[in-house]
Point group: C2
Chain length 340, copies 2
């Protein structure tokens, strides 16, 4: 073999923020497909906040990784050898290979990708799981009406950017929260939100309130923590809160000041008839995924739906990019171009 | 006048638990109705946990009382003099007179009560606002399915007792939480719940878990605090949590131990796709109140829906009874027989 396969495994469970030493790059032989198998060569690896949860030994909607396991993740891969009747050499597929350059598959969980529909990397972002998280959460839970106000954090990211654009399509006001002036400029000017607020500003709660003069009807929650505290007083009667992520607490609960914030949140849920509903994108896939592909695919094709990717070169850069994403240092959907 | 009218006003805003000195009994003249007015003589006054919220100077779904205002409350009253075309002497009505023996009304907010339908006191309990709170929350949010498990606290009270009976009618398992052996016996044997757990037991969380071997699909939240902490780990994927009250925190947030419990609750909302939705009974009145009166009225008439009332004699006993109710010392729906 001129070039070995590579993979990144969980070397140690992180304590709080993941460190580079929690990951380990391993070389292995490139495997050979047996009957009914294909060999996949990964082109793009998606990095997503949910992966942080899998690194902990805690029951959630999916089983935790064990130390030594290859990090999980969705990828776009090319079939480079096939003994499977449904796949031919050269086919592009969406796969759950994890953080690796090569993988064998018997076809379970693979789906073919049509490169004519949209750039294939978008199937990991705006036209993939993050995009469908935005679409499903807004369609089933958020349900914005014309004239309402929709707020989303991480607004330059793959979920938030589509949440705001879907709000605009529905005739609602879209207010994005992002970290720093550059991201805010992109959210407002590049994505067409009505307002963008920098959560790093000292007067962030006041700025957010000023940007929402009629209160908030939908808050798409993917962050938690201090941003939730700023949003809570602004929520209108009957506001809806789809909860798709809580990146601010994935590295452990934020440092407490001794205040139990649950009673205040429950009080507002009661007194303003709020709906707070968690979901995982595939909760809604059976009913809404086909509509998503058609509607958002068309929006990408005609340019009416915009998105931004933050491409990282080389599998070995994945741990560093992942750690940076958890700190909000990415700018757009984080995708690793794996190559070989 | 042989007998003056009496009323109870908010004498001081409570700090934490209300004290008797936060109320004041006042005598006034019995008023005389002008044109288009009726004079009401109160027969029954309902005492309900929401009244605690009105005593604080805090924005909620209704305006706070001012010090010196008559305490708010729903009543069954008799029209003893009428200059209003729609009401005749002797009519019984539901009214929002507050804690008083007599009141004038121009008819707004009055509705006639048919004493043939059910004992009129039930229109303040199982067939009134508390009953409709149970009905609306279960019908719109809880939506129990056959074989699911429904849990409710304050299960011998007017909301909880109907929640469990509606769960049974829907084919679900009903588990009630109540304070003390006597209430638990009534919940299980008198109301027909499948199980009743005493929340004052030291091993309450373990007992609750044992009573819910398949987890919890609907938790009807009217208490909050420590009971929520015991329920949270038992909630199943897609569980629904109608939030109609938080009596454990009405006297102020429970004493903290420095733990912020919000992150853990949000994490479970996310990882188990929970729906937590607050409501006030009248959110659902337009759509569901007629069905409620028909269905629950029929159940009371044929004895298939059971209820318990805790009748207190005399308006002057209302403050003491109200304070006791907030501590869970009532046994059934608290109603003051006002008389004169």
């Amino acid at each position: 073999m001129a070039m070995a396969a590579r993979q990144i495994v969980l070397a140690a469970r992180p304590k709080g923020k993941p460190q580079l030493t929690d990951f380990r790059l391993e070389e292995t032989a490139i495997p050979t497909p047996a009957a009914e198998q294909v060999l996949l060569e990964v082109q793009y690896l998606s990095l997503d906040p949910y992966m942080r949860g899998r690194m902990d030994d805690r029951k959630s909607y999916a089983k935790p990784l064990q130390v030594g396991d290859v990090m999980v993740g969705e990828t776009v891969a090319k079939v480079t050898a096939s003994k499977h009747p449904r796949y031919a050499e050269g086919d592009l597929v969406l796969a759950h290979t994890g953080w690796r350059t090569h993988a064998l598959s018997e076809g379970a969980g693979l789906s073919k990708v049509d490169p004519a529909l949209a750039p294939v990397s978008t199937r990991l972002g705006v036209l993939g799981m993050p995009g469908f998280t935005a679409y499903g959460g807004m369609r089933v839970i958020g349900k914005p009406k014309p004239g309402e106000t929709v707020v989303v954090a991480a607004a330059s990211g793959p979920v938030g950017s589509l949440v705001g654009q879907l709000a605009k399509i529905a005739g609602a006001r879209a207010v994005g929260i992002a970290g720093g002036a550059e991201k805010c400029a992109f959210v407002k000017n590049g994505l067409g939100f009505d307002a963008a607020i920098n959560h790093r500003g000292a007067d962030f709660p006041a700025q957010l309130a000023a940007a929402c003069p009629n209160g908030i009807d939908v808050y798409f929650e993917n962050v938690g923590g201090a941003i939730w505290q700023a949003v809570l007083p602004l929520l209108n009667k009957f506001a809806r809160v789809p909860v798709s992520g809580l990146i601010a607490q994935y590295n452990g609960p934020p440092p407490g000041d001794g205040t139990d914030r649950l009673p205040a949140t429950m009080r507002e849920i009661l007194s303003r008839s709020l709906t707070v509903r968690g979901f995982i994108n595939y909760d809604f896939a059976a009913e809404h995924y086909a509509d998503f592909l058609r509607e958002v695919g068309a929006g990408i094709a005609d340019g009416s739906i915009r998105y931004r990717e933050d491409i990282v070169e080389g599998l070995e850069k994945a741990p560093e990019a992942f750690i940076g994403m958890l700190d909000g240092r990415n700018f757009g959907k984080v995708i690793v171009r794996v190559g070989i």
